[in-house]
């Protein structure tokens, strides 16, 4: 047994002093910031795929990477103040010209990271490659695109054979990473991300991917010299890593974590996203093949209760579009609101007074991907049950849920909730896959009226006229037919080291670091 002598006490205090001399940390403790280089570490929530080709996936984490590494003709910041703002990057203008063509004038002084000069031939190769419906990315675009090269720095785009007007790329070109023609032809894009964006790819080692600032970036060299993507799958681990300084920026902060972080020395940010969360109705069989039942269910749901539960992660919505989208309106007179009396009237009209005679209804949700799905799913289940809907609530882990939620036969659940995050203000990214009869990936509630309204706005080349068509015709048509009920708009919560300033969080998740600075 060692006695507490003066000598032992002094030894102990000397050890404590040594630790204090390292700033209260052990010598092998390595902080993310402050290692000489102006570097930030981003806590990545999903891993990248095994291909660098932006058209080979629809994975959110890799879309963030693509945003940094690949240049685009335009950027669409999608701010709440100006959702339809366009910032020109590789193009200097876009104009609707004759025969449905959208003409781009391109910059002459851009080079890809590997040194090839950028020309209209790269734009042609990229548009035609990425919009191919057989590519995974094809789902984002309105169909096979056709590009006419006018000269090396001018080109025109529209649907193949004039199948759709080029104006559909007005915003969408801001969600189309431009590749080199050579890389597409030789398939080299699979192996190396040769973009022309603000950051250059340096290396990938397991969960760590390193990018360096591109000194030739057309919109200015970023001050942050290095960006490290560090895949940290667990949300709690990401949070404590930020607090301990091992990560500098984290995303998908959960509402409870947000409250915790407000008390820490970190900066938090809330961004109203492009993603609305929906309750989708499946219309293969009763009861939701009857529009009155869909409206009855919507009238049973108190969205204020859900918003209260979501706290900082939710933002009110009225219709099907997020307020970050072109065409959003908060005035849709026929959009159903919480009204239990109207719910009961509709149930009785449909032959199910008080819910009597309704078949069992399965409501499917996921746990572990979106915040609080289980919690607000329980609220929705209780509200529906209160009105007489015999709802059974099923919660699945993400991989199982993703498989089941896309089932389109009679085994599909009658109710399912999903979000739909897209990287452009272009509303067709949501409207076509969700509610046009060609898509209907989650509801199968097609309608000629909705189809006609979606197609009509697509053909309008004047921006203001198109906005009016979406707001005054399409949104009311969707509210009437109600294939899906908009619950709320997701709010993206980020947190970062207070030394990082000037960072811009896009409403679909990527982080624009071009104007970011690091203060000491």
């Amino acid at each position: 047994m060692t006695k507490t002598t003066r000598r032992n006490f002094l030894k102990g205090t000397a050890a404590a002093g040594t630790i204090a001399a390292f700033g209260g940390q052990a010598p092998f403790f390595k902080k993310a910031l402050g290692q000489g280089k102006k570097s930030v570490v981003w806590g990545q929530t999903e891993p990248f795929t095994s291909s660098w080709d932006p058209s080979s996936h629809t994975i959110l984490a890799q879309i963030y990477f693509d945003y940094d590494v690949f240049g685009q003709l335009i950027r669409t910041p999608m701010s709440q103040a100006q959702p339809d703002e366009i910032v020109y990057e590789m193009a200097t203008s876009q104009n609707v010209v004759e025969d449905g063509w959208l003409e781009y004038t391109l910059r002459k002084d851009i080079k890809f990271h590997r040194g090839q000069p950028f020309t209209a031939h790269d734009v042609k190769a990229t548009f035609e490659y990425a919009s191919n419906p057989e590519r995974p990315s094809g789902t984002w675009y309105p169909g096979q695109a056709e590009v006419q090269v006018v000269d090396d720095y001018t080109c025109r785009v529209r649907g193949e054979g004039g199948s759709y007007p080029g104006s559909l790329f007005w915003f969408l070109a801001g969600f189309l990473p431009i590749l080199s023609k050579d890389d597409i032809e030789t398939k080299a894009i699979d192996e190396f991300p040769n973009g022309s964006g603000s950051y250059k790819f340096i290396s990938r080692d397991g969960p760590t991917t390193i990018l360096n600032a591109n000194p030739d970036y057309i919109l200015g060299t970023p001050e942050i010299e290095e960006v490290v993507y560090q895949f940290v799958p667990d949300a709690s681990t990401r949070l404590v890593s930020l607090i301990s300084g091992e990560l500098d920026i984290i995303e998908r902060v959960e509402p409870e974590q947000y409250e915790t972080l407000l008390e820490e020395d970190v900066t938090t940010s809330r961004t109203v996203s492009t993603e609305n969360k929906y309750l989708h109705f499946r219309c293969y069989e009763p009861p939701f093949d009857d529009v009155r039942l869909r409206h009855a269910a919507a009238h049973a749901i108190d969205r204020d209760l859900i918003l209260e539960l979501m706290g900082p992660a939710g933002h009110p919505t009225v219709g099907q579009l997020s307020s970050a989208k072109f065409g959003y309106t908060d005035t849709i007179p026929n959009s159903p609101e919480y009204n239990p009396e109207r719910c009961q009237e509709l149930l009785a009209e449909a032959g199910y007074p008080g819910g009597d005679g309704l078949p069992p209804i399965e409501y499917l949700t996921s746990q572990g991907f979106y915040p609080k799905t289980k919690e607000y799913g329980e609220v929705i289940t209780a509200l529906l049950q209160e009105q007489g809907f015999p709802v059974e609530f099923t919660v699945m882990e993400v991989a199982s849920w993703i498989e089941r939620v896309f089932v389109r036969d009679e085994t599909a659940p009658q109710l399912a909730d999903t979000g739909w995050m897209t990287g452009s203000p272009e509303p067709n990214l949501v409207l076509r896959p969700m509610w046009h009869s060609d898509g209907l990936i989650l509801t199968n509630c097609g309608s000629d009226t909705v189809d006609a309204a979606i197609e009509k706005q697509q053909t309008i080349t004047d921006v203001d006229a198109r906005r009016a068509s979406i707001q005054n015709e399409l949104m009311p048509a969707l509210a009437d037919h109600l294939p899906s009920f908009g619950l709320f708009t997701s709010v993206l919560i980020h947190a970062h080291h207070p030394a990082i300033e000037g960072i811009y969080f896009l409403p679909n998740g990527p982080v624009d670091k071009v104007k970011a600075t690091l203060t000491s």
Binding site: A26, H57, T58, P133, P136, S244, E246, S400, I441
Partner: protein, 339 residues
């Protein structure tokens, strides 16, 4: 020697059958439970037609026996397939001569990292050293905590040493490993800044995860050791030794501890092996530690079939081999034992 050879041949043959059965079970279960890796690979927005085309390309729509035979045929040749998700970056160096001003040549090296899908063996080989280091440190910490407590408790049944060991064991076994991991990260790393813990940038990153593992494993060793020592103390050879006038220390070290070590070895082979594997997986995931465990948990969440299958074969093989070695070691300690 002949016994050892016969023993090894017989047990290894049994082991191969066990590993094959485990592989088939895992292989089938992965394809029966919900969760389509192709949908996860391409992202939720991809059309069903594109998903189906890729699934066909990967052979995932063939019958399970057909897929299994194809897998085993390649596996016996050492080809365990490639991860659906993990990229492998090989560094290719190319020299470029850049002509600078005034006719001066400057040589620069352009590093280009080319990515392909990572082979399963590579994924495992990359993570295994880290996992072994963590498991080794975890076991070391476990033994440092559990052996003194277990021996003291076994030698002093019903006394304070026994009660202390029981109390510590009960507390440790009640702590969920993921919870303990997060608490340690928060207190030791985030608040006190004493030890790092997220990822791996040096040896210091092993300490906290190893402590979590040790806390999980120690109660079993403490309990097993104290029980087997207490039982050994009841044996006739102990009273015989006392009657013959052998020193107490000699009785304990040469006889009691030696005999107590056989059940402990079995405990190591079966329970500790399983617990260590399970514990390492969870611990690595929470600490974002770059071992096989983290890759496996991620593979399960993403339905990365080739990686899960490869790790299942590895884990089954390790457990089979550990058991064979434990049984062999037991026969050396006590020649009367036959397996």
């Amino acid at each position: 020697m002949a016994f050892v050879l016969t023993f090894l041949i017989r047990r290894l043959a049994q082991g191969v059958v066990i590993v094959l059965l485990v592989t088939f079970l895992i292989f089938t279960l992965l394809r029966v439970i919900p969760g389509d890796p192709v949908r996860i690979m391409l992202g939720p927005a991809t059309t069903q037609a594109v998903v189906e085309a890729r699934a066909q390309e990967l052979g995932l729509r063939d019958s399970i026996p057909e897929q299994f035979v194809r897998y085993i045929a390649k596996a016996v040749q050492g080809d365990f397939g490639e991860s659906y998700f993990i990229g492998e970056t090989g560094i290719a160096l190319t020299a470029q001569n850049v002509v600078g001003g005034k006719g001066q040549d400057t040589a620069t090296e352009q590093r280009e990292a080319k990515m392909t899908r990572a082979g399963v063996l590579k994924v495992i080989a990359d993570g295994l050293p880290y996992t072994l280091m963590l498991a080794g440190m975890g076991l070391l910490f476990t033994l440092l905590m559990a052996v003194p407590l277990g021996i003291a408790a076994g030698l002093n049944q019903e006394k304070w040493q026994d009660r202390l060991a029981f109390f510590i064991g009960s507390v440790f076994i009640s702590l969920p490993n993921f919870w303990l991991a997060l608490v340690l990260i928060l207190l030791i790393t985030a608040r006190a800044g004493l030890l790092p813990s997220i990822g791996y940038k040096g040896f210091g990153y092993v300490i906290l995860p190893a402590i979590v593992l040790a806390v999980e494993l120690a109660p079993i060793i403490i309990r097993g050791l104290s029980m087997s020592i207490a039982q050994a103390l009841q044996a006739g050879y102990v009273s015989g030794g006392i009657v013959r006038g052998l020193p107490w220390r000699q009785i304990i070290v040469r006889h009691v501890l030696r005999n107590s070590s056989i059940p402990m070895l079995n405990l190591f082979g079966v329970q500790i092996g399983g617990l260590l594997l399970g514990g390492v997986f969870v611990t690595e995931f929470v600490f974002d530690y770059p071992g096989v465990g983290r890759s496996t948990v991620q593979a399960v969440l993403q339905r990365d079939f080739p990686v899960i299958q490869g790790v299942a074969i590895l884990a089954a093989s390790i457990l089979v081999l550990a058991n064979i070695m434990v049984d062999l070691a037991s026969t050396f300690i006590d020649r009367r034992l036959k397996f």
